[in-house]
Assembly symmetry: C2
Homo-oligomer: 224 residues x 2
DNA sequence: ATTATACAACTTGTATACTAGAATTCAATT
DNA sequence: AATTGAATTCTAGTATACAAGTTGTATAAT
């Protein structure tokens, strides 16, 4: 497992959650692999308690499978689950971007502009993951502006199902398209055009459409 | 705090979560009240560990406020939070009820009918909370039929914000209307009429926010 | 050889002891 | 009397010991 750096003032439980989540998404903890509270704890230099808290949270969205008194494991990819998470995300993102057209003030638009500017800067920085962080922050901003940040937190967890499929697919979406999408969305919000904003968001999210069948034949051992 | 009966094969953690959740919704743990892991544990005949697990989960949706090394409490009703949970629930419920029109088979319709029949029976059973349980189960059924049960689980947690407001409102929202709404929704699903189903669901869900201002003046000590 | 049983080696669930930090109280000092 | 400060007593965070249950293996009996 790939260890992350422990942030200042971060509790052991938070660190464990962040680390485990990251390793599930990047497939270091591969689908179907067995995990053990003891091993994870030892690897992260913690006791079982904070690790256990992290595993419980992840098991709530079925990204970790805890079988009491037996074992715990990382579930194989369940495409129904992937679809369910996508359904939820699409519905809420589109509704939120419509709300943003009413609710975004000048300061909010400035924050969005700043984010998109940075995205342009890091557009070619393929491996750094910096663009991915900015992408995530962009969507978080949209939820914040619409006063829906709590919902974003829930989406973030269930989206792990989708995120690890995206990792598997090595998501071939062109960075230029993503950044342009974001810029267009900000424009629509500035023009207070909810219909356009929703349409652009739909197009944007559709880019991540993944060929499930192809993945399933390429990595059959990861699927249920 | 009102203690529930421990179910067979229910772990201590599950029991603690179920009990605390129930007591927040029925306001036995009133908004603004301070809570303590030790007290709750003693009251339920458990140790801190399973109680702590329950509190952590509830704090993830901000229905419990944990201040590290200081104290924990039940937050006052934050109407922005109530609105956020309502927003999420409305959006998903309406989308799901449309899906149900395509996906519900005869057996599903029978299950819905049975639930509504029971609701009619318990319509005047004001204090038992039985009607509220049936109401919850009705909506769970709609998500199950649309193969979106994981999403329902997430909604259920964030909806606690909304549910405790509903507890306050039960005195003013007519049970007869609620049950009639449900019956109408089942009818629309049977007719495979997604537009009608969505419209009916919107009407149904709208009934609960009419009394927001009245509740705030009736129980000002519970609001932030 | 096969089946059954006992035991050993895991697992997660729970209880408890300990650590660290914040708030409060009460006494000492100014 | 007001203020400072140390001690007490809360809190939550963590580590660890133990309980309960499952699985697999080895051994013994048939």
């Amino acid at each position: 497992m790939r260890l992350l750096e422990r942030l200042p003032r971060e509790s052991g439980g938070e660190y464990a959650l962040r680390t485990i989540k990251e390793n599930i998404i990047n497939l270091e903890l591969p689908p179907g692999s067995q995990i053990s509270e003891n091993e994870l704890a030892a690897e992260m230099g913690l006791s079982r308690t904070p690790v256990r808290e992290a595993l419980i949270e992840l098991s709530k969205v079925k990204i970790v499978d805890v079988q009491p008194q037996k074992k715990s494991s990382i579930p194989l990819i369940d495409y129904d689950m992937v679809e369910e998470s996508r359904f939820m995300r699409d519905l809420l993102e589109c509704a939120v971007v419509e709300l943003d057209c009413e609710m975004a003030g000048p300061a909010d638009l400035e924050r969005l502009d700043e984010n998109v500017r940075l995205q342009s800067l890091y557009m070619d920085d393929f491996y750094s993951g910096r663009l991915m962080t900015l992408d995530d922050q962009f969507h978080e901003l949209l939820f914040d502006i619409a006063k829906k940040s709590q919902i974003f937190a829930l989406i973030r967890n269930i989206s792990i199902h989708f995120d690890r499929v995206r990792t598997l697919a090595l998501s071939s979406v062109k960075n230029t398209k993503i950044v342009q999408d974001h810029a267009d969305i900000v424009d629509a919000i500035r023009r207070k055009d909810p219909k356009a904003a929703r349409a652009l968001m739909e197009t944007h999210l559709d880019r991540y459409d993944i060929d499930a069948a192809a993945l399933r034949t390429a990595y059959p051992q990861y699927f249920r």
